[in-house]
Subunit: 292 residues, 2 copies
């Protein structure tokens, strides 16, 4: 039986130590703020997915670790900016006060900008066995997913839809952009640089698309009935902010059913993969059973 | 006699039309906000420098136009974020109300984020004759210049030093980071992708370092005695905000002398270049004689 808990602990250790090396401690206030958010106790789902996707197609962790870290930097920058007073105005994240609370708004904006930029610095500084043209492809995939046709458009729609009850299709589109795009990019980058065939990359993309949405449905459910102590962030905030969520649009029971169905479809897409894909299989189930 | 005015007009037309193509009009509020700032009437100094550097070493405009545009996107994002209420709180930029005034703070933050990300999307989508490894080098040069060891650290120091009179060395270091780094990256990228030899690239870097600082000295002088109508932004703001500037640290006369001396040194570094470098020579002089 595959032991996901040990797997995640081991991968997180590698990711955290790589992040620590990619952004060394420094006396600069900017670097302190960047590290404050980057080194906080995050789930590291995206970098783990990147590594697990590489492994599923026969690649090695070491081949994709910097890419995995770059994606976590992009994710972290998006959290810092989303938490700003002008956006979601959140005080708590990853169990700690948010960046603009500990530092100030200007520093939080700049720390986010700097983490986003650092991601591309890391992606363009990778040595190793990769072809330069493959690296360029991965940089493009990640930039597209993070940009105005992906994550940032999702955040724009999320903010614009406060106080409006979205229909199910618009809610799904918004999440596909806001969280789905970067999750798909994590899996796709890992699969490409791990040496996956086109067919494997496309199957893994189906997996990623479905777990990405399931992840968001589960997040919405946790925002209703999760434990803030475990989550490291406040709950009930979606309702207070009049945000459309799966529970508010289709109800809690239907949301749970949907999450399960999405994971079922994700696992189906993995049918032809061997035991090297077990971590991806286990992560799919974990995504809807997690408590944080 | 080289006609800089026609040269700048021609280059600006090419840059504006390329920017327009790289970010097409769209119904998305995010894209509208991105275009509002990107298509405003900027000087386009950085992209022009990138193209002129390529031409100086025998390269062609078409080889570096997307890189030049990516750099302008990064510059524009930095202006949007610098103007935010939490930073410089400016209402006017490029002759128009700033992004957060026309849209709102959240949209301005996201539009900045999206322009920064789009720059890397553009850089990683370049087709043409370039080697992938050369492109990766240029992406790294630009990311490093824009990041926490370059422009963003400069902006952090700029904000932190409000109300403090810096010494001349700290002022120079701050500007070398805040504006110098991206100007150097513009010239260096153009020179590398234009096919310059290592020696040419290093000479052009000396040029870039000196005109970069001269540009800032000139900007500081314009903030004291410039015409807001020509500048498209307010004047006297540095003094009101108790910012250290060259005029405040070494006086107006010394600042003028310094700017001239910097341009002299920049021109000296260009000694061995032929007439193809005339645009760079003319830009150096323009930088300290401009009225906006």
């Amino acid at each position: 039986m595959f032991d996901l808990k040990s797997y995640l602990a081991e991968k997180n250790e590698g990711i955290n130590s790589a992040l620590d090396e990619l952004l060394r401690e420094d006396s600069s206030r900017l670097v302190k703020a960047m590290r404050y958010s980057l080194m906080a106790d995050g789930k590291r789902i995206r970098p783990v997915l990147c590594i697990a996707a590489a492994e599923a197609v026969g690649g090695k962790e070491v081949d994709v670790l910097p890419i995995a870290c770059a994606i976590e930097m992009i994710h972290t920058y998006s959290l810092i900016h989303d938490d700003l007073p002008a956006m979601d105005d959140d005080d708590l994240r990853r169990g700690k006060p948010t960046s603009h609370i500990v530092y100030d708004e200007a520093t939080a904006i700049l720390a986010g900008d700097a983490l986003l930029t650092l991601a591309f610095q890391v992606l363009s500084s990778i040595n190793g066995n990769h072809q330069a043209s493959e690296l360029i492809t991965v940089i493009r995939i990640i930039a597209e997913a993070a940009g105005y046709c992906g994550m940032i458009e999702g955040q724009t729609r999320d903010i614009a839809s406060e106080g409006i009850l979205l229909d199910r299709k618009s809610l799904e589109d918004m999440h596909a952009l806001k969280t789905g795009a970067l999750i798909r990019a994590s899996v796709r980058s890992g699969a490409i640089l791990g040496g996956g065939s086109d067919d494997q990359v496309e199957r893994l993309d189906i997996y990623a698309r479905h777990i990405g949405l399931a992840f968001q449905v589960a997040d919405d459910i946790l925002n209703v009935e999760g434990d803030p102590a475990l989550l490291g962030k406040s709950v009930g905030t979606d309702h207070a902010r009049e945000k459309s969520t799966y529970p508010s649009v289709i109800g809690l029971d239907e949301s749970r059913k949907l999450a399960k169905h999405l994971i079922f479809t994700a696992l189906q897409a993995m049918g032809r993969f061997d035991a090297k894909a077990d971590p991806l299989r286990a992560i799919a189930t974990y995504i809807i059973e997690r408590e944080k």
